[in-house]
């Protein structure tokens, strides 16, 4: 662990990314202290520009505080990113592990299913799912997870394929260890590094997808999120740039930071790549 951290620390950009994400997390967790009001409250003059009328980042068309929305929305957006990623990683591990480990017919069937989901134009499919399930935070998470897991499945399958022939796995067989135990205790821990790296990037992608869905009007109307702000501000981008731009910037910063973390994790968890040069 300390070893990992010392490798991670060498990548300044990644440390910066981590710091940013931690800041955003703190912001999200302390939202109710920073802005005790419900972010949906209409608390001031509509369409105030930033730094006017007591609004740090301006207000939207109904007089809601954009800054408050961003702070409160951080929670939702990160949660969507995180939960969607966890769900899709789980689906992906399930498919990939079974396909890679058992091979043969099992692999064939599971991989065909994966291919189906890879072949469907993913964003349209996500839209379809959200539309059918009605826009809510749950349906958005499900939709993002459903379109994101095939990548994880392929990755996990590849790792399982490679690791299952390693000698230590063979040793487990000779000890009479059961398949599930081998998959879970012996192989899975060894492919966590790439999964973590890919997962961290998926969080970023999920946040982007959420904003895209919101842009198309498919956000949860009852919960404040960055996507909500974007959806609310998109039609007025030309006249009230701040309503849509600040949440956009929030997304930009977060996605950027998560990506930096992802690269840092990659360097730290798969050191062979970096050491070469």
């Amino acid at each position: 662990m300390s070893d990992f951290w010392s490798r991670y620390r060498r990548n300044y950009a990644a440390v910066f990314g981590l710091a940013v994400v931690v800041l955003i997390l703190i912001m999200a967790l302390t939202a109710s202290f920073l802005y005790p009001n419900d972010p949906f409250r209409l608390i001031g003059k509509p369409l105030s520009e930033p730094f006017t009328n007591g609004f740090l980042l301006g207000s939207d068309s109904l007089g809601r505080d954009v800054a408050s929305g961003i702070v409160h929305g951080a929670k939702t957006s990160l949660l969507i990113g995180f939960v969607a990623t966890i769900v899709s990683v789980f689906i992906g591990i399930f498919f990939g592990a079974f396909a890679g480990y058992f091979g043969g017919r099992v692999d064939d069937i599971l991989m065909r299913v994966t291919e189906i989901f890879q072949t469907i134009p993913s964003f349209i499919f996500a839209i379809l799912l959200v539309a059918i399930m009605k826009p809510s935070i749950v349906s958005i998470v499900i939709a993002i997870a459903v379109v994101s897991w095939p990548g994880v499945a392929r990755l996990v399958r590849g790792e399982f394929l490679a690791i299952k022939n390693r000698e230590f796995v063979q040793a487990c067989h000779t000890l009479g260890m059961g398949d599930f135990r081998i998959m879970l205790r012996e192989i899975l821990p060894n492919c966590l590094s790439p999964i973590i790296v890919v997962g961290s990037l998926m969080i970023a992608t999920a946040i982007l997808i959420e904003s895209g869905l919101a842009f198309l009007g498919l956000g949860d109307p009852n919960i404040m999120s960055w996507g909500f702000l974007i959806g609310a501000g998109r039609t007025m981008l030309r006249s009230a740039w701040w309503v849509c731009t600040f949440p956009g910037v929030a997304i930009l910063i977060t996605v950027l930071a998560i990506n930096l973390i992802g690269e840092g994790l990659n360097d730290a968890l798969n050191p062979r790549l970096k050491e070469r040069q």
């Binding site: 509509p46 109904l62 009007g217 109307p221 998109r234």
Partner: protein, 528 residues
Amino acid sequence: MKKALAMILMAGSYLLSGFAAHADKSGGTLSFLVQPEPPTLASYISTSGPIGLVMPKVYEGLFDYDNDGKMIPILAESYNMSADGKTVTFNLRKGVKWHDGKPFTSADVKFTVMEVLKKVHPRGPNSFREVTGIETPDANTAIFKLKKPAPYMMRSFAAYESPIVPKHLLEGTDIKSAPLANNPVGTGPFKFVEWKKGQYIRLDKNKDYWQKGLPYLDRIVGRFIPDASTRTAAMENGEVLYAAYNAIPNIDAVRLKDRKDIDVTTDGYSMINPMALIEFNTKEGPFVDPAIRRAISVAIDRRFMIDTIFFGYGKPATSALSSNFKATNLHADMPNYPEKGDKAAANAMLDKAGYKRDGDGVRLKGVLDLIPYGEDWRRAGEYLKQALGDIGIQLELRYEDVPTWLKRVYHRYDFQMNVNYFYQLPDPVLGVHRHYGTDQIRKGTHFVNSSRYSNPRLDALLDSGAGEPDAKKRTAAYKEIQQILADDMPVVNLFELEFLVVYNTKLKGAYGSAMGAYGSFREAYLDD
């Protein structure tokens, strides 16, 4: 009647004299925004907005209406109404040809009204419900036989409401699936040329238009741009010159108004009379008690909604009818419609009705459905959630897509409270009655009485209001109607929407018709 006729003719000659002066105005292409892309071009089947933007340039009605509500002769040169109001004779224009070269005759009118409008048009069966038959003694005369007088019928002859379609292309086919839907052939100033899906509809000048010298424009192109900000940009860039029905968001319209080359008007919607409102489920759920509905109406700050969501364009509702019906003396201001909202009064009303607040200050909980026709309605919902939260009504917002929402509200009645807007149209009979009559509780039919409000007294009044030739009696009937509705509030009217037209000042002459964007644009020209 003679007087009316004379007036019409006068108007015609006035127009004619105007044409000569503008002879040098011909040429140019007008591109305007059509939002969203229409499903088909069958304006005789669908009154869908975008179809209305395009098709009145191709199909014509018997009459058009100017901004004062006066009739402008189009395919009919004049009409004559019998004293009992049960026979209306139309003298049709001679020498009019369909775009395919076939002559336009009274048979087309008969066929259109009897076989098309009365059968497949959404509002035709209502507009022409008293028409029992049409006689065509010659090619240029159509005599409408009515069961009862129907004054409102005379307001529904515009091309958008009642387009006259070619009999020879529809007869003998299944009208609902006739190829005419996508290849329209009309008599109008512009011919349909091409519809590039996802891009544009192109209409070219009808060189054989019956009114010599018209139209001025060589071409009209309706463009589809899905994103609102891009639409604004296209307007700013001069790529489109005309945008109606809020294709340009109000916030941008307000900004663009300050530009020299762009102007904004609210003209051209007087035949539409759109009204934003909340429909309640009066049969089940938390809003069955009229007292709550009244309190809600009282609590809402209508001015705030107009100012913030529609940037000042709109008028607070003061009764179930649009204030535009003041012209016909049908509108009366009612209580329970405070412009700025009165939360204290609303709270008091709820207290009195016995709705106690719980520990969180909540009296009752409900779900508010939002019409899925754009962001503005979401904002409205968000405002309502906050405003009603203040009087102890905790709402959850539900925003579903169009088919889901339609099913929920008009098929399953599985809603409690629904933000919507209705066109009240030029006469309450056409646009308002459908919302309240017991006979309008039509499961599965859209945009009718989804509140399932039923009041025999009201039904009787609506009936008399529809057929009453006497203006005074009609006024009285509608006053009582409004009184009943203000008490029971099956629907809380919020405000009269004022749609905007944003246009490039280059474009002139597009505003002669009360139909506005749903007009023919035959006199529109570009002043470079």
